[in-house]
């Protein structure tokens, strides 16, 4: 199909400006972006949070979130201008000719209705097909994207289906009216790497089979390299650079793009485990669980002084439960936790203040780990009062010194509330709070996974510097192998509550591996645009030999 200009342009955005409402009035968040998308083309939008990529993706549907407005520019979809079109006209396009795949399918499926009802809603409401036809079509699509049990899965409720499968079901739902354009908004960000592969493959198949154009939004350059024909790099609501995928990856023009490509290169030199030293922290044969279900099975691991042990595994593998046992929040049913060779009381409230002080924790979500009503001084000051008995001017001085250590200017930040900080700054405050207790061991639970890559890297570098400065030991819980590669000395791989492999980093990243380690390692996306094809081909080959590498989730 061609339009009046004689090309096959599907979407043409010119000078798009988007504003968000703040207390002081309207604040511009996207400052005039142009975007062209041809039929059947996949365009990647990449950038850190706040770059405006989701907002632009939604604007392509003529949609602005509550509290936002499309303030200027034109959005032409298939020759029709959407910004000035009446809401009813836009509504007829949405879900029909342009559809949307959300970041978290678990949250974007309505918990009150079966998958099939939600799948059929679009086609029936838009008058594309009748209910019976839509159901047959759904089963056909479910089968094409390799959902298990395609005949029956549609008749389950969202809570009865795993995250990876839901995300694929949502892709199928987006295809239900055979749209011209699908907006994928970070569709794999909430998934484990092992699950991500299947979803990426399903999305690519679906888009290729029907020749659908797509806007693929992500902050992960390696993922977008697999999916997109062309990439637009965005920052602070402005285009940084745009280009063909291969060309942009091999020859980035702008400094910012180069930074994004560089991030996975930060490496800490591996330090060998000291000989004949009592480990500072040890889990010995720990079995633990919630109620009747056992989550950890006979887990043993050791953390030595000034070393970083990374605990990796997908969600549900028991990594965070291990941290809960160590901190005494969850007493184990068997086994014990030793500190400097001495057993620690199983429950935190039986531990002495000093035992508590030496073991601190940093959490995944700095947003929820900070009390929104407490100012920075209070947040960092509390452990200083509680553990070290500081008060008055001494306390304030120490808080300022800690802010210096985490590279935040004390005068600017000491009186701020968490709401006045960015995600990375919040995580730095959480680090300062842990550091305030003058600990020997810090448990870091996915501390970088909620952050943008560049910000995350800053946090990793900070943690590395603090480790040397204060002789800290880290237990680094993560599902991200790039983080492991960057910061770990030793690696412990967990799968379904058991330790499947452990050893120095260098050994873990060289074959041969345990099957699960292999799956985990091979699932980490690489910048090479051919990586996914190669991986899928390799796995298909392995499957022929009877070796199936699959995540627990699928």
């Amino acid at each position: 199909m061609t339009d009046a200009n004689g090309d096959d342009l599907l979407l043409r955005i010119r000078g798009l400006k988007i504003e968000g409402r703040t207390e002081e009035g309207w604040n511009e968040i996207v400052h005039g972006v142009d975007l062209d998308l041809r039929r059947g083309e996949v365009l990647g939008l990449i950038g850190e949070s706040g770059a405006g990529k989701s907002t632009i993706g939604l604007a392509a549907m003529g949609f602005a979130r509550d509290g936002c407005r499309l303030s200027a520019g034109t959005i032409e979809f298939d020759g029709r201008e959407l910004r000035s079109a009446p809401e009813s006209a836009r509504r007829k396009l949405r879900g029909n000719r342009i559809s949307y795949v959300a970041q978290s399918a678990a949250a974007a499926f309505n918990p009150a209705h079966r998958l099939m009802d939600q799948y059929c809603e679009g086609p029936v409401v838009h008058g594309v097909m009748g209910r019976a036809e839509a159901e047959r079509d759904a089963i056909d699509l479910f089968e094409r994207i390799h959902l298990p049990d395609p005949e029956a899965i549609g008749f389950r409720y969202p809570h009865q289906v795993s995250g990876g499968q839901l995300q694929r079901a949502m892709t199928a739902m987006a295809m239900s009216c055979r749209p011209d354009l699908i907006v994928f908004d970070e569709p794999t960000t909430a998934l484990d790497v092992t699950t991500q592969i299947e979803v990426l493959a399903a999305i690519r198949d679906a888009v290729e089979q029907f020749g659908t154009a797509a806007i693929y939004i992500t902050h992960d350059l390696a993922v977008v390299a697999q999916m997109a024909d062309r990439i637009m790099v965005l920052r602070h609501g402005l285009l940084v650079e745009e280009g063909d995928t291969r060309q942009l990856l091999s020859d980035p023009q702008m400094e910012y793009t180069r930074d994004l490509l560089e991030i996975r290169r930060f490496r800490v030199e591996e330090r060998p485990r000291p000989a004949d030293e009592t480990p500072v922290l040890e889990m010995r044969g720990v079995t633990a669980g919630y109620g009747a279900s056992t989550v950890l099975h006979d887990v043993s691991l050791q953390i030595h002084r000034k070393r970083t042990v990374a605990v990796v595994g997908e969600s549900g593998s028991g990594k965070s439960t291990a941290a809960r046992v160590i901190t005494g929040l969850l007493p184990p049913t068997a086994g014990e936790v030793l500190y400097d060779g001495e057993p620690l009381p199983a429950r935190f409230d039986r531990r002495s203040t000093d035992q508590l002080r030496k073991l601190q924790m940093i959490y995944q979500m700095p947003d929820t780990a900070l009390n929104p009503k407490q100012r920075v001084e209070m947040v960092i000051g509390r452990p200083l009062q509680f553990y070290l008995g500081l008060s008055g001017s001494k306390l304030r001085e120490r808080v300022r010194a800690l802010l210096d250590m985490i590279e935040l200017e004390p005068d600017t930040f000491i009186d701020r509330l968490p709401g006045e900080l960015s995600g990375g700054q919040k995580q730095r405050i959480c680090i300062a709070r842990a550091l305030a207790a003058e600990p020997e061991v810090i448990l870091c639970d996915e501390v970088t996974s909620a952050l943008d890559p560049l910000v995350a890297e800053g946090i990793l570098k900070l943690l590395d510097r603090l480790q040397t400065e204060f002789s800290l030991s880290y237990m680094f819980i993560t599902h991200d192998l790039a983080t492991v590669r960057a910061i770990a000395d030793e690696v412990v791989v967990m799968f379904q509550g058991k330790v499947v492999e452990s050893g120095p980093k260098s050994e873990m990243f060289t074959p041969p591996h345990h099957d699960y380690t292999d799956l985990l390692l091979s699932s980490v996306p690489e910048m090479d645009p051919d990586w996914l094809d190669r991986l899928l081909a390799e796995r298909a080959e392995l499957a022929k030999q009877g070796r199936v590498l699959k995540a627990a989730d699928n």
């Binding site: 549907m61 979130r65 396009l93 949405r94 309505n110 009150a112």
Partner: protein, 318 residues
């Protein structure tokens, strides 16, 4: 499904336990009142000997726990004893009164529940519009006045000035339904005004609370109309809190109508309980209290069960 049955059984057992505790409290508080039934019957001029004789006749000289279980046993079989005031069977006395109160409560509920649901849904649909503000302030105003005040205003306007409806609702067992509906209209409206605000605001709040959920955004991006989004996507997920507020308000209709019944001289339980209290007709007061407790427990039980049924996570476990 087994899980649901188990949960319903648990709730039922809890309800029975609550009822048992309430009966204990009722019995104990009546025991603690000075004087007893025998003194009440014989009046102030009675000699201690005659009182003691009557106590023996009535079995009041036996220990309290024996009398309690006897009373409870009789209650369980539907025998509420006799009224002291007019010697009639309480069951008989309660029969028409309870029916009258339930009729009035049901009448008000049939008007109030759909009305407040509709008002609440519409308010959510047109949030922050003039309509929304109007409904909010109107319902708030009506709940802010004491019900006897509203009742007298209604009587002054609709019964005295315009003479559309009677000011006194004298119904008997023989009154035909249409006449009953006509006569009880004013009290039903007063009750509706009292309970609508609460239910309407909860409906609105429960729906609006969900409007920021990702699945509502998804529904909008599927190109659905606002109406369908609210009715099909938000409402089913908002049911549990709404059901609970409705149950509380319905219980209030049965238990809290006392004032309205007195204003309209309506022959319901409220009138009866007030008469009985003034006459110190203790067996009747006990029976009424137990019926009120039973109403609360049953309606809340029903709300619990309906909330469970509205939640697919409980209905269809993984």
């Amino acid at each position: 499904m087994d899980a649901v049955l188990k949960m319903v059984a648990q709730r039922l057992a809890l309800g029975l336990l609550t009822l048992f505790v309430v009966s204990l409290i009722i019995f104990a508080s009546v025991e603690m009142l000075p004087g007893d039934v025998a003194e009440e019957i014989l009046g102030q001029s009675a000699t201690p000997e005659t009182v003691a004789a009557l106590r023996r006749d009535l079995g009041l000289d036996r220990p309290a726990h024996i009398r309690y279980f006897e009373w409870l046993g009789d209650m369980a079989q539907g025998d509420f004893g006799r009224s002291l005031a007019n010697k009639r069977e309480i069951t008989e006395l309660l029969g028409t009164r309870l029916w009258n109160t339930l009729f009035l409560a049901g009448y008000a509920a049939v008007i109030a529940v759909p009305l407040s649901l509709a008002l609440g849904i519409l308010a959510a649909l047109y949030r922050n519009s003039l309509y929304d503000r109007l409904v909010n302030s109107a319902t708030l105003t009506s709940i802010s006045f004491p019900e006897f005040f509203v009742a007298y205003i209604m009587i002054a306007i609709f019964a005295v000035s315009w003479r559309w409806f009677p000011a006194i609702v004298n119904v008997t067992a023989e009154t035909p339904l249409d006449e009953r509906l006509y006569k009880a209209f004013l009290p039903a409206i007063v009750l509706t005004m009292v309970i609508t605000a609460h239910m309407m605001r909860m409906t609105r709040a429960a729906i609006i609370n969900l409007m920021a959920s990702p699945y509502i955004e998804m529904a909008r991006l599927k190109g659905l109309t606002r109406r369908r989004i609210i009715l099909h996507h938000a409402l089913p997920n908002a049911l549990a809190p709404i059901i609970n507020v409705i149950a509380l308000n319905l219980a209030y209709l049965v238990v809290g109508v006392v004032v309205v019944e007195v204003v309209f001289v309506y022959p319901g339980l409220g009138q009866l309980i007030i008469d009985s209290v003034t006459k110190r007709d203790i067996p009747v007061v006990q029976a009424c209290s137990l019926i009120f407790a039973l109403t609360y427990i049953l309606l809340n039980l029903l709300a619990d069960i309906l909330s469970i049924l509205s939640n697919p996570r409980l209905l269809h476990p993984r």
